[in-house]
Amino acid sequence: METLYKIFIDPFVQMAAAPDFLLQVLWEGLVSGVLYALIALGFVLIFKSSRIFNFAQGIMVVFAALTLVGLYEAGLPAWAAVPVTLGVMYLLAMTVERVVLRPLVNQPDIVLFMATIGITLFLIGFGEFVFGGENKIMITEQLGIPTGAFELEPFGGFVLIEQKDLTAVGMAIVLVVGLLIFLNKSSMGRAIRALGDDHQAALSVGISLSTIWVLVWFIAGVIALVTGIVWGARAGVSFALEVIAYKALPVLMLGGLESVSGAIIGGIAIGLLEKLFEIYWGQPLLGGNTETWFAFIFALIVLLFRPQGLFGERIIERV
């Protein structure tokens, strides 16, 4: 009885008792949710255009951030480090296309997936080899990101909203809107969607596979850099961040592998829910640190009821 009370009643009593704290928790959850959504977005883009389940997306985030900070530490001013990092990401996109994707065209999905695991490992080794394995601090101020905080007082309580988090959310919104316009309005965007539907058909109407792939991986790289900057501002930059990369997977599963809006909603949902669960159930009842697995178990349970994800299309099996 006591346990049931603790599970089903007490957390809500707590929420009602301290609404300002609840708001703070929700805000934190929203910010990490937005970041998960960003990682998932880069992933969806690649999956849509090439059917590749790109395991390396999360690592690209770390790699981009690490490159940026590494270049700055090497003496490049911040305003120059950003374009150079973008150049590195473009180089990476080209290399991946040339060295990995092109030789593997028409291989089964699973082979391409494994190849991206190979890329992941290579990027980890390469990044640490060049920039060292220790934790770095994101050059937040040098990039002109405000670091102050707003203090709000709703319900007579106290909520702290950091400006860099606000910036993160703002940048994410700009990025997503830009991306949606690009995908839906530009001819390149149409080509990307066409490739996702049917490679052969897209090729036969004159869409260049390699150009699009480089482009898509580069866009994923840009998204990775933005994510890396805002995440790095919160948590520092090192490959320990790869854990967040894995988080993108349940987000994707939840949203459906191909849906841009699914990635966003899935990301925010998971960000919010895992924070709420950790604070109100995980810490008091389970000893905390439930954020390591909550997203996965949650996605798994949802998938059991909707195997195609929340926004994926229903699969009719044919023979």
């Binding site: 593997l104 695991i117 894995y246 640190n289």
Partner: protein, 358 residues
């Protein structure tokens, strides 16, 4: 000439279905068994046992488990390390609760725990397919490691949060614990690995192997030829997790001697996956080849700077090692997606017809 098969006729289905229809293959196996059972124990140093031989055996066992699930039954798993952990912790609890129990029995029993957990996390595979299923095994991976950390009963409420293997004897020989001799431990692992491999080979060449491969190649068609998908997938999960669990228990009890929860974190899962990929998915032999490569690579990389007279720090070598493994995986997938095992198969085919190429 050495590998000529002409003149070896099969007169019954039994001999045609023998493990080694070609005599030379059997000789080769006997040669390697002699090497493993006689030559290595006589010549190897303690370092060789601890850093090369035992790890290769244990990793190849874990890879075999993963291979049955992913290579044979086609169900991608990213949670191998979690299931290894279940085996290790189960074995630890069994040996604490029944201190008098023979270690072999404790080991064999601990596999059933990992098999049960494996089946539980395999259940979603009946509804979720392909990449979506990866989430189920990842969920297992993260949840289990968290559980190893938080559930203090599992490590007997030690202050350190780690499990430490106590000394256990068998037939008058010390098998586990800090005082056990490396040769004894090596033999123990070797026998266990031999037995499990032999049983697995039998399983994969018969009805279950065909069922699994059918599910892997085309699950709808498999169902329509009368294969019960649920049974095929769940047996694959059970057998795979059993083997993986045993490998985990062996790893802690006969190699590492102690373990913290983070030993079973996701990097270990990936390491096993790489062994399976590089060795060759859907191959038994590949597990050994992959394990040899993955275990030997860092050792060799560590030796190179010394030979060249350079001094490179350990962390850098580690980074280079990771890079090389990543590059190797991509290279393998491009050059030969079926891994090292296929290389051997191709060489063998050439040898069979050598020196007459047609």
């Amino acid at each position: 000439m050495l590998y000529r098969t002409a003149g070896q006729f099969k007169t019954s289905y039994q001999s045609d279905q023998a493990l080694f229809p070609v005599r030379q293959d059997a000789f080769l196996l006997i040669f390697f068994l002699l090497l493993a059972y006689v030559v290595f124990p006589l010549t190897a140093s303690e370092f060789t046992f601890k850093a090369l031989l035992v790890p290769v055996l244990i990793y190849s066992l874990a890879s075999l488990g993963l291979n049955i699930l992913t290579g044979y039954a086609g169900q991608l798993s990213l949670g191998t390390a979690g299931f290894m952990g279940v085996g290790a912790y189960a074995c630890y609890k069994i040996t604490t609760i029944f201190p008098e129990l023979n270690f072999v029995i404790a080991l064999a029993l601990s596999g059933f725990f990992s098999a049960a957990i494996g089946v539980a996390f395999g259940l979603p595979s009946l509804r979720i397919k392909g990449f979506y299923l990866a989430i189920a095994t990842l969920a297992a991976q993260f949840f289990l490691v968290w559980l190893f950390e938080k559930w203090s009963w599992l490590y007997n409420d030690n202050a350190s949060g780690a499990i430490e293997v106590r000394t256990m004897d068998m037939f008058g020989l010390t098998v586990t614990g800090p005082t056990a001799s490396p040769v004894v431990q090596y033999y123990f692992v070797l026998v266990a690995v031999t037995v499990v491999f032999w049983l697995s080979i039998n399983l994969t060449r018969g009805r279950y192997g065909r069922m699994w491969k059918a599910v892997r190649d085309m699950d709808i068609a498999a169902e329509l030829v009368g294969i019960n998908l649920m049974r095929a997938k769940l047996t694959a999960f059970a057998v795979s997790s059993y083997i993986v669990g045993i490998a985990g228990a062996l790893m802690v009890f006969l190699w590492k001697g102690a373990a913290e929860p983070n030993l079973f974190d996701i990097p270990l899962s990936f390491q096993i996956l790489f062994i399976a990929i590089i060795g060759g998915l859907g191959s038994i032999l590949g597990n050994f080849l992959g394990a040899i490569l993955i275990v030997a690579l860092p050792v060799i990389i560590n030796l190179i700077p010394g030979m060249l007279g350079l001094s490179v720090n350990v962390a850098t070598l580690e980074h280079i090692n990771v890079m090389i493994i990543g590059a190797l995986i991509v290279t393998f997938l491009i050059v030969e997606p079926h891994g090292l095992a296929r290389f051997w198969a191709v060489i063998r085919e050439k040898l069979v017809i050598w020196p007459f190429p047609h």
